[in-house]
Symmetry: C2
Subunit: 420 residues, 2 copies
């Protein structure tokens, strides 16, 4: 980036926030459009909620893990509000309010921006985008398989394979059984799950004393983790039928951080990066919590972030090539209008308006310019054709820029020649 | 809306904020996609900026009209920040930082959310969406005509005609001449323009004393407004060439509220609603102000809001029909998979996965259900076809739901029969 020297820091975005210039925006569009296409093929319907929500939605209702990272403040009407740090409380709130209006199962997705005041490390951003997919009013294995399949196909759609990612799946129920057998009360279990959640990232010397507080020894834990996974047979059969068995592994250390999960939990893991690309789980109690019991509804969902996904897509050669092609295609023009005779500008503008109305992406010089310069602009813009208007009007020349071949045709035939 | 009684108010979005359930989201998507298609045909490139910006971007730099309406606060890092109330300062900041990287003219657009703490009246929202279109590095009449044409075509693309809207165009220069001739200093002129801006909405009894402070009588003002418009000849000729002359009127009372405008200003006006659908103007000094003179660049742009536009589209019968058809199409399924024999669920799941991978939008029952109920679900979802998998596998039945006609075919032929 070629930054002029005297510009002050305040012209940069806030730390952790991003400017999306056209090239970066095209990448975001490629990711969003791919997400949207796959979700729609699965018959999920798109929704969105407000960017700002009452702070209590995160503080009281949803476990509170994210409160320390909230962009929260008091608005001009004395309301305690927060920029949304995740979608789940919003979509649970929305479903609760209109629960009776929608036949179940409800399949919803959203693509939206979120805000967390994270420490500036590890490439973490303070404004990021997420795809959220949720299934309400269903507790079937078929429903869980449908959502896991969607999570897999969302990554396959970018060209990623089972070598690049897999799902790590678990059921929090296995820990309920483990802890129940040891007489550990339900209210202490979230703290225990935090230890399991960090097991992969923290050394034994950190985890072991924490386990001791629950009278669980390191050896006892390892023995439990080495046991065969509980029966996920019906779920596996559903995934096998879709040809997706190879993408799924069961792993008792996966519990996911958020307190509201109640059953099946999973993450999409990229082993080459050691990072999760997505995560989610069943949260059958959240809607009842939000509504003080007035509405109760089964819920199962996951979120995919844009930041780690883009890193992974750029690291794998063939997914990187696809991404770069999408950026190139987003900026390319169908045609560039060359005005070779300024006296014909009015006729040229009329023709260009017709071509654009037919859906062609067309640019042209806003003011008089030398013909050679106009062709340079056409090449620089990646235009497929130059439409040359000159003294021969109403005859025009059509030049295919890649092959430098040229043909003449009548102005009213241009659209048909350009294949529209 | 059928709201269960015991739900508390806190489950509703904050006042002035919106939940977009799928039906409302489909309307938003229809508007956004139409905007995007037209902007791309004009060779504008899409960008976006951060939702949160340093407060000083609005307080010190851009005239300050919107400061009283800011959602502003101090973040956890002691920064004074604000949710963006408009895009112009952000895009001017972005262009300034990378001015040297982009060949001029630069044609950029964005579709984004904005936040203003407005009084709850007149259907004004606190979170709303805007399309912003800007042209940088150009001061030609051709560039101004290009942007005005884009503003017109953005509304024609929804089916609106010259009966539904027109542009009211002016040049602030006419007021500079008027005020200069009366010896009124440049620093007092923004206050005078505020009077002109409100002339249409305020009664004479309010405006007249304000004018008197500038030693301008009511009669003197009316005489000036009755004078023929200054020469917009070249601009009119450009619009005439594009067949858009009928959409443009010149009106000296149009000055637009924002202080940073320097020359041509305009609004898109819907006479039947008495409301502006869009507004903008030339702001040639803003980039130099932001950069303390380090970068200077011509700039001309406008914004379209989503709220008034949707109201107008719903009020005009044929644009309402288009909007409703877009909502219907957004939710309709290509096919519904009917599993008539649960023993064939694995084969059905495999086939459905193939159909979805080919781009079809398909749903099916997540758990066993009676065949009649499955057909009801297919109808309710507006599916075009039912794909019936039963004991005859690998033969399947294809039912066209509108005509209730049915044909049998082999599973591997389904995709071809469905026209993919």
């Amino acid at each position: 980036m070629d930054t002029p020297a005297p510009i002050k820091l305040s012209l940069q975005p806030l730390p952790g926030f991003r400017d999306f210039y056209p090239a970066e925006h095209a990448v975001r569009t490629y990711i969003f459009e791919t997400w949207r296409r796959v979700c729609r093929s699965y018959a999920f319907a798109e929704y969105d909620g407000p960017m700002l929500e009452p702070e209590e939605l995160y503080v009281k209702k949803s476990g509170g893990e994210l409160v320390g990272q909230l962009f929260n403040f008091v608005d001009k009407g004395k309301r305690a509000v927060a920029l949304r740090p995740e979608m789940t409380p919003t979509v649970a709130r929305m479903l609760a309010v209109r629960d009776r209006d929608y036949k179940k199962p409800v399949k919803w997705f959203s693509i939206a921006s979120f805000f967390r005041y994270e420490k500036q490390q590890d490439g973490r951003l303070r404004e990021f985008c997420q795809l959220n997919c949720d299934l309400f009013g269903d507790r079937s294995t078929g429903g869980e398989a449908e959502l896991l399949s969607l999570a897999i196909d969302l990554f396959r759609a970018f060209g990623l394979t089972a070598e690049d990612f897999h799902l790590r799946v678990n059921d929090r129920g296995v820990w309920d059984d483990f802890l129940g057998a040891r007489g550990i009360a339900p209210e202490r279990r979230p703290d225990f799950l935090q230890i399991i959640d960090k097991l992969e990232r923290e050394p034994r010397a950190v985890s072991e004393p924490k386990l001791a507080e629950f009278s669980v020894s390191w050896e006892e834990l390892q023995a439990f983790l080495a046991e065969p996974a509980p029966s996920f047979g019906p779920l596996i059969a559903e995934l096998e039928a879709r040809g997706l068995r190879e993408f799924v592994r069961f792993d008792a250390t996966i519990v996911r951080g958020l307190a509201y999960y109640t059953g099946l939990v999973f993450e999409v893991f990229a082993p080459a990066h050691g990072r999760a690309l997505a995560g989610g789980g069943r949260y059958d109690d959240l809607i009842a919590t939000l509504t003080d019991g007035a509405v109760s509804q089964h819920a199962f969902g996951f979120a995919v972030g844009d930041v780690v996904l883009e890193k992974v897509l750029r690291a794998v050669p063939h997914t990187r090539a696809r991404l770069e092609e999408s950026v190139r295609a987003a900026s390319a023009l169908d045609a560039y209008g060359v005005i070779a005779d300024e006296a014909r500008r009015p006729e040229a503008l009329g023709l260009f308006a017709q071509l654009r109305a037919a859906g062609l992406r067309l640019d042209y010089p806003l003011a008089a310019a030398k013909v050679g310069k106009q062709f340079q602009a056409a090449e620089a813009a990646g235009a497929r054709y130059a439409v040359v208007i000159g003294a021969e009007w109403p005859q025009v020349k059509l030049k295919t820029l890649a092959t430098r071949t040229e043909e003449a045709c009548a102005a009213e035939e241009v659209l048909a020649r350009l294949g529209r």
